[in-house]
């Protein structure tokens, strides 16, 4: 009997501790909402999201987050132009072209790229990429949206590559063999059979790459220059949401409107990455059903 009670206690302990991640996720949501809400007593949600002026320290202050949201979208889009071809190309190479030997050498290299801390990417962007961009386009500063996109793109490449590689490895070998057997060559098989059947897995990889790029902080903080204007060109400095929070939190007064406004930006950031993560989850669960793998 004593044994049985002990077993029950253990089950309960593990059960309760298991909910910690849910607790933290809910805790983060509640924190962002309660700390961000006081801002919306002063200005409406709409004027926060669509306002074109971000001057939080002026008197009276302006809390228009559109330049920051637009900058995040801009830099993320630029990063996608880098990480989607490089990531998917690397995945295709590893899975379809490289032999076993080459693959076992390439995979760890991509993992190294994924393991480099973001502050090192930011540092690299500041000391190597920014001066290069500045000279190349003859600009007053090399800290631009383009620099941010480029560095962020390199950084997101391994994420896209390893997720896309997973998706490709799920394609049953019989698909490949059937296509080759009816006389298609390897390239035709790749384009007409493998890529379409791994399609939703690959799009999941891209979506998670987007989510990673939107939320990345140190890299954009260090290399995008930080001026809060709506971006018109890739060659101008911008200030995405993440770097606004990181750069301005130090100058705020605890509980002041500026402090609240940074949590409100955090809320926008949180919900945009949440949206992309749920979208990715949805697509990948559909995809598994399609390939008959169950959940």
């Amino acid at each position: 009997m004593k044994q049985k009670i002990k077993e029950e206690i253990y089950r309960w302990i593990f059960g309760i501790l298991a909910f910690s991640s849910l607790l933290f996720l809910v805790g983060i949501t509640i924190t962002l909402i309660t700390q961000g809400i006081p801002l919306f007593r002063e200005i409406s949600l709409w004027s926060f999201l669509s306002g074109r002026d971000w001057y939080p320290t002026y008197e009276p202050p302006d809390f228009g987050a559109l330049p920051l949201i637009a900058a995040s979208a801009f830099v993320t889009l630029g990063a996608l132009l880098v990480c989607v071809p490089l990531g998917i190309g690397s995945a295709l190479y590893m899975n379809e072209i490289a032999g076993h030997r080459q693959k076992s050498f390439l995979k760890p290299l991509i993992e190294i790229l994924a393991g480099i801390p973001s502050v090192i990417y930011g540092f690299f962007g500041m000391v190597v990429v920014a001066p290069f961009i500045q000279k190349l386009f003859n600009l007053p500063t090399g800290l631009t949206a383009l620099t941010g996109s480029l560095v962020l793109g390199i950084m997101a490449t391994p994420t896209v590559a390893s997720l896309a590689e997973d998706a490709l490895s799920f394609v049953p070998n019989s698909f490949r063999e059937a296509s080759l057997a009816v006389g298609a060559n390897r390239w035709q098989t790749l384009v007409k059979v493998i890529i379409p059947s791994a399609g939703s897995g690959i799009s999941t990889a891209v979506i998670l790459g987007i989510s990673r790029a939107i939320g990345e902080t140190m890299t954009v903080l260090m290399v995008t220059g930080g001026s809060a204007v709506i971006p018109k060109s890739f060659l101008q400095p911008v200030r995405p949401m993440t770097s606004t929070i990181a750069a301005e939190m130090g100058e705020t007064v605890f509980g002041g409107l500026h402090y609240n406004s940074l949590f409100a930006i955090g809320l926008v950031l949180f919900f945009s990455t949440l949206f992309f993560n749920i979208l990715a989850e949805f697509i990948s669960s559909r995809y598994r059903l399609k390939l008959g793998m169950g959940r």
Binding site: F14, I28, S90, L106, E111, V119, I120, V191
Partner: protein, 284 residues
């Protein structure tokens, strides 16, 4: 050559170019950090505090600080993550519970690092009153690495053949005895791999400690879990954005970047070694 053959040649060449470009970037990053960082590294650099307004001396307090923060994060996240993984794999909860937990773990993994920083600031620094401290920073980093520890441990636990568990239960052992004496020891290498990878992640993260733990300069070393702390990644950021001697500071930043890179990469090399060893055990 017919058209199909030509298009295959071109297509494969483009794919090949993608891989080469990716590796080229990796090469360039490693080349710059290693070649320029080597010049800054010396015994003094590793063991002394900074001097002369961040233009000389070493970065020892930042290395020590990163060690404390990472250790704290693991102490917090490992028991929680392991318990969660054990519950999910060994106690097989109902489908609905399983789905809720899976979704929350996945989404917690996707939360941007700076948002963890905001949470840490509002909850640990302000609400619990821990202030800007090792404790606040470790807890924040711990939550950040929690999903990684859960998935790695879960993977290690599911890799244990079901027959191991059945054999133990058949001998009359209880569930908890089976977990403690059979499941955990057998899955230890896999769990360790996950833990080591999380150490690498925690050591390199900057955004979560920006508002919760790190300062650019600290006199001496931290003396309690409630003191502020210098940290290697934050130090790189500080050297590049604060201070008045950009040229000297950039040199030191190169040194810091090399140390951080070396730490993080050697940690993941150890993890990869563990993983290989574990595969040999399972698959002969």
């Amino acid at each position: 050559m017919n058209r199909a053959k030509i298009s295959q040649k071109i297509g494969f060449f483009i794919i090949f170019l993608c891989v080469v470009t990716t590796l080229l970037f990796l090469g360039i990053i490693l080349y710059f950090i290693i070649s320029r960082g080597m010049g800054a590294i010396s015994w003094e650099f590793l063991t002394r505090p900074p001097t002369g307004g961040m233009t000389g001396g070493g970065v020892a307090p930042a290395i020590v600080g990163t060690f404390y923060l990472t250790l704290g994060a693991i102490i917090f996240a490992l028991p929680l993550g392991l318990a969660c993984a054990i519950y999910l794999t060994e106690y097989t909860p109902k489908n609905i519970v399983l789905n809720i937990l899976r979704i929350s773990i996945n989404n917690l993994a996707g939360v941007p690092s700076v948002v963890f920083g905001l949470f840490g600031l509002a909850v640990f620094v302000k609400f619990f009153g821990f202030g800007i401290s090792i404790l606040s920073g470790s807890l924040t980093l711990g939550i950040l690495i929690l999903p990684g520890i859960i998935s790695a441990s879960q993977e290690a636990l599911t890799a244990i053949p079901q027959s191991f568990r059945e054999a133990s239960l058949a001998l009359g052992a209880t569930k908890w005895q089976t977990i403690r004496k059979i499941v955990l020891p057998t899955s230890l290498p896999g769990i360790l791999t996950g833990v080591i990878l999380s150490i690498g992640r925690a050591a390199g993260e900057t955004a979560p400690i920006l508002f919760t733990a790190a300062v650019f300069y600290l006199k001496g070393y931290p003396d309690s879990v409630l003191s502020e702390v210098m940290a290697l990644p934050y130090h790189i950021y500080g050297l590049m954005t604060e201070g008045t001697f950009p040229e000297e500071q950039t040199k030191i930043a190169y040194g810091c970047a090399l140390i951080l890179l070396f730490m993080v990469l050697s940690i993941s090399a150890v993890a990869i070694y563990f993983r290989q060893k574990q595969r040999r055990i399972h698959y002969g």
